[in-house]
Subunit: 277 residues, 4 copies
């Protein structure tokens, strides 16, 4: 902070490499917006905005698959419930969507980001063309470094014995790897993690949506915080669809449980204020 550089002007304070504007001209990462519109897809635009370059077609297709996969998991998810509740409270649909997204924190929205970090960490111990055995060893080393009882992000699901989204995404990664579009290294690490967990726990704990999208995003080279961001973009679609559906219900101030039910009170019994208060 205390440098000999001259203080920044407001224009320098707000600098960006993402977008350039002049009257009548908008350029994204150097490309004129009117050239992008109609020629690149939404998933490609997401890639360009966050990465700085356009993806090749196979990468775009993988990104698109991951974005499709995570749009919704129903109103039991706090984020989606919040979108539905908010829209009955007399706020704009953008505020309802923001309320949903605001809940996609480390626990609700962070497993993908954490899993990418884990995959990257394992990969950093591997050389150029690792064998299955080298991968398994790197996985074991990493798992031993985790606390014994710690949860491994991206594996296991409280509801789905097998998360139907995961094998489908993995198959798409395999196909892309077979075509040379991605390395396939992170899919291999993910499967090795699944095997290592199975041998530790005595039962398979299959990769879930967070693990499978993490494999996709790691193969595509997205930095971990962007992986949370991509999940937010995806789940925002669910927030919008659910907010709009709830908007049709005419419900007002929709709480979590129907109005004829009350919560359970567990506090002190009725009492009088102390004298002097």
């Amino acid at each position: 902070m205390s440098t000999n550089q001259p203080p920044k002007t407001p224009e320098e304070w707000w600098s960006t490499s993402i977008i350039d504007m002049k009257p009548g001209s908008i350029r994204i990462r150097g490309y004129a917006i009117e050239e992008l519109i109609g020629r690149v897809g939404f998933a490609e635009m997401i890639y360009l905005m966050t990465r700085g370059e356009l993806p090749d077609p196979a990468a775009a297709k993988l990104l698109e698959a991951a974005l499709v996969a995570a749009v919704d998991h129903g109103p039991q998810a706090p984020s989606i419930a919040a979108a539905r509740m908010a829209v009955t409270c007399g706020v704009g649909i953008n505020n309802a969507m923001a309320s949903a997204i605001n809940m996609l924190g480390d626990v609700h929205g962070g497993a993908g980001e954490q899993c990418v970090a884990l995959l990257n960490s394992i990969a950093s111990h591997l050389g150029g063309d690792p064998t299955e055995r080298q991968i398994a060893e790197a996985v074991e080393t990493q798992l031993r470094a985790l606390a014994e009882e710690s949860h491994v992000p991206g594996f296991g699901h409280r509801f789905h014995p097998i998360d139907p989204r995961a094998p489908r995404l993995l198959a798409l990664v395999d196909a892309a790897a077979a075509g040379g579009a991605v390395s396939g290294r992170f899919a291999a690490i993910g499967r090795a993690l699944e095997d290592a967990l199975a041998s530790r726990k005595g039962r398979r704990i299959p990769m879930n949506i967070d693990g499978a999208t993490a494999v996709v995003y790691a193969e595509l080279g997205f930095a971990p915080p962007l992986c949370r961001g991509l999940f937010v973009l995806s789940r925002s679609v669910g927030a919008l669809a659910h907010a709009f559906e709830e908007m049709q219900s005419g419900e007002r101030n929709k709480g979590p449980i129907p109005r004829h039910l009350l919560w359970r009170y567990t506090g002190p019994p009725a009492r009088a204020l102390p004298d002097g208060a």
Copy 2:
């Protein structure tokens, strides 16, 4: 509210037509998620989630173009500035994105929604295959109904003499209309609005991004609140890209102006507390 219907169970309280789940199975609008992944694009998934059915390819392409068009307009927009500020405050990237989206209110994010409502209102006065003259008359009727000085949403731009995104989107609508994929009626209404405004104001007030995306969304039959929602999905990409870029800066508690500048104080001069306070 006071009906003779039995009170809802919690399951009925949380009902939806969007997603069905069983252990190992997730269906969106009836389609198995593993069939959707890899076969439908992200824009198509957005359409399916919000509309209940898959779009035809021409509709998907138009939706994709509109989503691409609105991703960013730079850090002078309060939403994007908020995303950059928030991420330096020690919150998650989802919270930064929510802070941005929360600002896309009636003024910042509502012009598209308002313009679709205006287009629909004009269209509701037209028969099956209206002439240019009938469209111009319906536009005039509608404009006379607006207060004299009122702003017409979707036209004019404080910065761009011509918003480069608008003619490009209109050209895509024209092409889709020529192919019979959309009616082209709302593009015609939009242009008639532009003409009517020009003759009133004595200078052209060209359609802007909000007007052009409104034409696209009206052609595709999106309800007005969904149009705000689609804008939110689009601008969320900008929020993510800018939040991530700012995250690299190492800045802490980034305020609107550089630290060596202070705001201008316009309140009462220094004074002492009254006795007795």
Copy 3:
């Protein structure tokens, strides 16, 4: 916007009459912060910040009573439920509080603001020292102007036959009016509204918390948007207390209903993707 004034500097762009700062000095509305600390109460500080001057003691006491009254109405309120849900999602307690506050919109948090506007509108038709009859007539005129079936904000409660907070707040206003600290005019209008509604509906629809706080805030001269703001400050206390309590539970991703329950699905039956998709 298009004026002949020179463009604002960034310092002018961020001007305020609320706070002045120099190194080592912070003044609020002209008062040194170190003089305010320990000598004015929190409610007085809220008044000073929002109104520009310190309240007299009777006004401070009334404001304090209204702020105390509205802190909580239980986890069935969407705002409070949202605070509890959010804090289990891995976000900061400030994000959980923001999620709650974000839901205090026109429907959930706006009745007080709307009721103050209604009280002010009725009062604007009254002279200096109105009789009960003049008040009743002004109320009738105003009610006739409202649509027949419209809801009158601040009256009636879905749960409480009599909202225990309302008569208590009214009694405090009466006492302040008897002492000359406030006019009592808005309490009289509020009661006249209650009478008029009773004669229209054939049953009493008692003033609720929103109506009673509106009477307090109108007596104190708060502008309507500030009334929503004061409610937000008050209910934020509930959001904090509930978020903190939930934080102790160890729950993760707390949704609206227990995990063994699922929502009811009302959409299309299982179907296959169309060929070509």
Copy 4:
């Protein structure tokens, strides 16, 4: 999670010790709301809601002083700027306040919480009636445990050589300790920290508002996350006052810098889309 307990009913799922309700009755921590209104102050109500019991008068006075101290630090703070920006975007004043609060994360709003945790950690190494020397040693031990270059939360200010709020709050703690209302132990630890930092850095790094409120809250026994929450309650007053002031300006979509300024673009030069895109 996998227990032999029967699954929770929705009422059990939403249980709380804070508030009990029956038709016509609201009890907070056992006290009837109509008894609390008018008899306890807002700061006392905050204490009751978050702690479960009413504070004694000296504790209430200290809490009130800390809440008064932190209401505002001007529009250079990202939170306050966000409130002002949001309210010009066409959202409710509650949404503007939520946008501000959402930015009070670990960096912008967390120093008080972190400082309380530090004070508690040092105190946990001290016996019943520690000497100054024992306190200094416990402080040294703790500081040695921190990484060499790490920032100590609650000390130093980028703008104020001495933060005028800190010595005033400390003086109030001293007075309360002299009267036996609090132990004074945390004020002593805070001062010992200041001394230890001075001897390490060769210049005094005075306690700031976060440090001084942390001393107050630690003396009062607030858990660290509640300290962030109390700061949120306090700064929400600033968010409200600034949002309301900005609302009067008529500004629309207020960005961080005046409209005639543009940000600095640092990305790739203008380029054409590659063939095939």
